[in-house]
């Protein structure tokens, strides 16, 4: 049974233009996205800005209601059984937001441990374990406002894992993090898979997706345009499916991405 399933998901936003003569416009952010993620799989969603990756994740984590279509996590509908789903998923997003800056890392983790139903007798031990996992032990009593982007991101991951979720959604977790920090985060993400967790990852970094993901779906303009293992996707380029010329070097995932997302042949001359 698939752990995460999206079946023909659609999401439309309503926005307006004008001041005196207001006109309403429907923007289709997600237009029929379907995929399934198996237990223990690390599945990547790749696509340009505005492709619908984050909107898709937000529907799966119960933050947004789909306009139509269905989504299930661990066999439970994300609309009908939202509370059930929330107890079993972790959500981590990239960037500076999502933390209480005036509080320490320890206070942030204590608060979210409480909200995510971590047993009060287990909270202290669980927080210590996670601080060690993300390499923040010894810094946990400092205010978050003094943390670097990489430290914040590691704290985000600790927060997302507090209740030991079996499914983890990572929305661009390495964005804006320096190369050393990003490498540490990637190793942390790989360890989630090694621990048996099912992971959905969105990223803009092709080498990251190539190194981490078992399978990838490429999304553009709200639709999935290709899906497969990183090798499958690269082979599509070298087979000339997406690229109309002989290559002089091995095509990369980035070549496949550019070809599939832009629907343009990509020159790979070395």
């Amino acid at each position: 049974m698939a752990v995460v399933e999206a079946i023909d998901l659609h999401r439309t936003y309503r926005t307006s233009t004008g001041t005196l003569r207001r006109r309403w416009i429907d923007v289709e952010a997600v237009r029929g996205v379907s995929f399934a993620i198996d237990k223990g799989e690390l599945f990547g969603l790749l696509g340009p800005n505005g492709a619908g990756k984050t909107t898709t994740i937000k529907m799966l984590i119960t933050l947004l209601l789909p306009t139509s279509g269905e989504a299930r996590v661990l066999g439970h509908d994300v609309v009908e059984d939202a509370q059930w789903v929330r107890k079993r998923i972790g959500y981590v997003f990239g960037g500076d937001r999502g933390l209480y800056e005036r509080l320490s890392a320890l206070d942030n983790l204590r608060y979210f441990a409480e909200l995510y139903g971590v047993d009060p007798h287990r909270q202290r031990a669980r927080i210590s374990e996670l601080l060690e996992l993300v390499g923040l032990e010894g810094r946990e009593k400092e205010r978050v406002e003094g943390y670097s982007r990489g430290m914040r991101q590691r704290l985000h991951i600790a927060r997302g894992l507090l209740h030991d979720p079996s499914v983890v959604f990572l929305d661009e977790p390495t964005i804006g993090v320096d190369p050393v920090g990003a490498r540490e985060l990637r190793s942390m993400i790989a360890s989630l898979k090694a621990a048996g967790k099912t992971v959905l990852l969105t990223t803009h970094y092709m080498f990251e997706a190539d190194a981490l993901c078992d399978r990838i779906a490429m999304v553009t303009r709200g639709r999935i345009v290709a899906e497969g293992t990183p090798r499958d996707l690269k082979e599509r380029v070298s087979d000339g499916v997406a690229l109309g010329r002989v290559t002089t070097r091995e095509p990369t995932l980035e070549d496949a991405y550019v070809a599939l997302v832009t629907e343009q042949p990509v020159a790979v001359d070395g």
């Binding site: 999401r11 936003y13 309503r14 937000k58 984590i61 119960t62 933050l63 947004l64 209601l65 509370q83 929330r86 107890k87 959500y91 997003f93 960037g95 937001r97 999502g98 933390l99 209480y100 800056e101 005036r102 509080l103 206070d107 204590r110 608060y111 979210f112 409480e114 909200l115 995510y116 139903g117 047993d119 009060p120 927060r159």
Partner: protein
Amino acid sequence: MAESPRIARTLAVGFGLHLKMMTRSSFDGLLGVLWPLFFATVAFLMFRAGAGGESLVFASFGAAVMGIWSSTSTSAGSAMQRERWHGTLELLVTAPVHFAVILLPVTIAMAAMGLYSMTATLLISRFVFGVDLPFEEPFSFAVALVATVVSIGAMGFLLAVSFVRYRTAWALGNLLEYPVWLVAGFLVPLALLPGWVRPFSWVLAPTWGVDAIREAATGGGPWPEIGLALGLGAIYLAIGVAVLETVLTGARRAGTVALA
């Protein structure tokens, strides 16, 4: 862990952390010093020029509760907006606990922050303006104070529910700040207001909260007013909880939770 103790614990942890966060802003701390000074000064200059005597005691306690109300009404909206800016609102909305258990401690912490303003106002009354403040029933005064904070916090909760759905609803908090000063009888006795205003006063918990504090201070027996303040607080809470799910579903449908 059983459900009720767990909820009580989550409320307590949330209250403690939000109070801690609010006390860490030096700008808010500065406002906490300036506002009571402003409230007290306006009230005393008005009343000293008028009746003086017992009216000054009336104004002292009224100005003191104004601080609690102002702290709650203006902060309840900005707190939800702050959660949006911090990107934490989406994490709170998707937490597997009823959102009321997350929201209520925030607004009660805001009302409790008003206690600082209240203390400062009473100290200014006593030591700057020389008003001899009575404290006839210390125990019932303390209970009246807690009842006022909790009931105003519950009113802030009801306001904050709309702030979750509508991004610019914080303006509603500012809009309500001054009318409630007047209608709840903080500075003007309700008897002086037109008859049609009275029903509005009666359904406002701050009306009974400030009455309870005055009665306890002057030895008049505040228990009926305490009961009314707490009863109205419970009604606000029940209405807030009842509409919260609908409001959250609306926000999830409109996609406004994450929008700053």
